[in-house]
């Protein structure tokens, strides 16, 4: 295990201590619980946005708490859902009276715990709505989109919902925008190596050296094809085809692209991939409004990448272009 950590079981809490120490001007925790991260700059009257999920995916999930994005995040152990009581603590801490929108990935534990937290919030008179990220094309057939897992494309949902809330949108408006973004986002991943949960001490799944798995999930969930590692262009084609067919994305559409590194794949390679994405989209007459490339949703030191497309309309484009700033992600106003 090549990790710079102390005791494996202390990793998540020590990481949170480090994050809070480093960014005390922007982040705090609710109820003195490290695993309940909230913004230290709440905006009175704003619809509050909460997410949550297991650790090991930075900047997911807590990395998107900040100006123009989310207000709180409950943090689980590595690859484990946070508890409902933590989600509820975050909910109470961030609610400004305008209601709270939960945005989280479609994983059993998270879904159930957020449900439970919503019930608790309801009992205290806090209005809560939910939008569940389901962008991973590899994790479910067309027509059953609601069963799909949420992966890197949830960034788009956070971004537009965050901007809508910052602009004064109501809970219903923010929810509608988030739902639209989720409906119009599609992602496909490829993994080249496994990753190691610190407490386990060894990889919990296998990918042969020199192999790859198309469509593998960010916890090592089985993908749709295992095989020998191929050239970048061929990999991108294999990832893009199902994305483009699924929505479908068509000539004349305008999209935002996210090329996401899963952990140990360098940015050099992400741009080799984007080069192909660009060519394929151009050939199909799909316009590219903005490109994000880097690590947005990781699996610790997993090698691999994902490609996400978000189909834009004027509303989504406007919200995507608004500035945002967290300790992990910062964007100026786009198009200036």
């Amino acid at each position: 295990m090549r990790k710079i950590i102390n005791k494996p079981e202390a990793m998540v809490d020590e990481m949170l201590e480090g994050i809070l120490a480093a960014h005390s001007d922007q982040l705090a925790c609710a109820q003195d619980d490290l695993r309940c991260i909230i913004t230290s700059r709440p905006k009175p009257g704003k619809v509050a946005l909460a997410t949550g999920g297991g650790s090991g995916h930075l900047p997911l999930f807590l990395g998107y708490v900040g100006d123009g994005l989310l207000d709180g995040c409950s943090v689980g152990s590595v690859f484990q859902s946070p508890g409902a009581d933590q989600m509820f603590a975050v909910t109470k801490a961030i609610d400004q009276g305008a209601g709270v929108l939960y945005i989280f990935g479609n994983y059993g534990g998270d879904v159930m715990n957020f449900d439970m937290a919503a019930e608790m919030a309801d009992m205290e008179g806090i209005r809560v709505e939910q939008v569940i990220g389901t962008d991973d094309v590899a994790s479910g057939v067309r027509g059953q989109e609601a069963k799909r897992r949420g992966v890197a494309g949830i960034f788009f949902v956070y971004k537009v919902a965050g901007a809508c809330a910052a602009a004064g949108g109501s809970l219903e408006e923010v929810k509608a925008v988030a739902e639209k973004a989720n409906r119009q986002a599609r992602t496909m991943g490829v993994a080249l190596s496994p990753c190691t949960i610190p407490e386990a001490g060894r990889p919990t799944f296998e990918i042969a050296e020199g192999g790859m798995e198309i469509g593998m999930g960010i916890h090592g969930e089985p993908g749709i094809r295992k095989g020998e590692l191929r050239e970048a262009d061929a990999i991108v084609d294999e990832m893009l085809d199902p994305i483009l067919e699924d929505l479908p994305f068509q000539g004349g559409d305008e999209v935002a692209v996210l090329v996401n590194g899963l952990g140990s794949t360098p940015r050099e390679e992400l741009y080799v991939m984007y080069r192909r994405v660009h060519d394929v989209l151009a050939a199909r007459k799909i316009g590219v409004y903005h490109v994000y490339a880097g690590e947005f949703a990781t699996s610790m030191e997993m090698a691999g990448a994902s490609i996400s497309l978000l189909k834009l309309d004027d509303e989504l484009k406007n919200y995507l272009s608004q500035p945002a700033s967290t300790p992990f992600f910062s964007q100026p106003q786009l198009g200036k």
Binding site: P82, G83, D85, G109, M112, N113, M116, P222
Partner: protein
């Protein structure tokens, strides 16, 4: 005739904690085959915390004890089964709130609410290869035993057999929920890890009662 008071609940949770501890590696192995392998860890930790909590509680309302134990499990074992077990105890406990003891009828009511809580939370039905497939036959067995006027201990013996048979049947099913569902057809032939926890739950209920 045996009945379940706060005292029996302490024994029941002690038994559950012990059973989960003893079967930690077994549950880890089941969960490793189709999931993330944490089931033994989360269950032993969750039920240990619940047992400690129940032991420390000065409360005679068995419904409240069960519901509070459920909240403890949910918060100490945040994995899927932790949430489901937590939900089950909370809903089941609320269904029998206000009582000092449970007889077979009340226990049946408890398990019915427990099961409904899980199905609602998990958005699942019997036959989808989950913990439900152990608990639902157990509930049927309790109902049947009630109809026959059997004593509580014997009813739980039958419920345990029914749960174990239900677990066996999960081998023929294809997982529809949670991590095991990622394996699709590949989950066939294997027992559902959560259903094994369901069997242990009934076993613990029985074991906490004398004779």
């Amino acid at each position: 005739m045996a009945r379940i008071t706060a005292e029996e609940l302490r024994a029941i949770f002690a038994a559950l904690s012990e059973i989960m501890e003893e079967n930690k590696q077994y549950l880890v192995a089941l969960d490793s085959a189709v999931g993330d392998g944490d089931l033994g860890l989360t269950m032993s930790q969750g039920f240990r915390s619940a047992a400690e909590f129940v032991d420390s509680m000065d409360e005679t309302d068995v419904g409240i004890i069960l519901a509070r134990a459920g909240m403890t499990i949910a918060s100490k074992a945040p994995s899927t089964m932790g949430t489901l077990m937590g939900t089950g105890f909370m809903k089941g406990g609320r269904a029998v709130q206000g009582r000092d003891f449970l007889g077979l009828d009340e226990l049946t009511g408890f398990l019915e609410a427990f099961l409904e809580g899980i199905m609602e939370r998990g958005r699942c039905r019997p036959g989808e290869k989950t913990v439900v497939d152990a608990l639902q036959p157990a509930l049927e067995a309790l109902k049947a035993a009630g109809g026959q006027g059997l004593p509580l201990t014997e009813a739980l013996d039958r419920a345990y057999e029914a749960a174990a048979a239900g677990l066996e049947k999960t081998k023929d099913m294809v997982a529809q929920h949670g991590r095991p569902a990622y394996y699709g057809e590949g989950s066939r032939g294997k027992e559902d890890p959560g259903a094994a926890v369901g069997v242990f739950l009934i076993k613990g209920l029985r074991q906490g009662l004398s004779a």
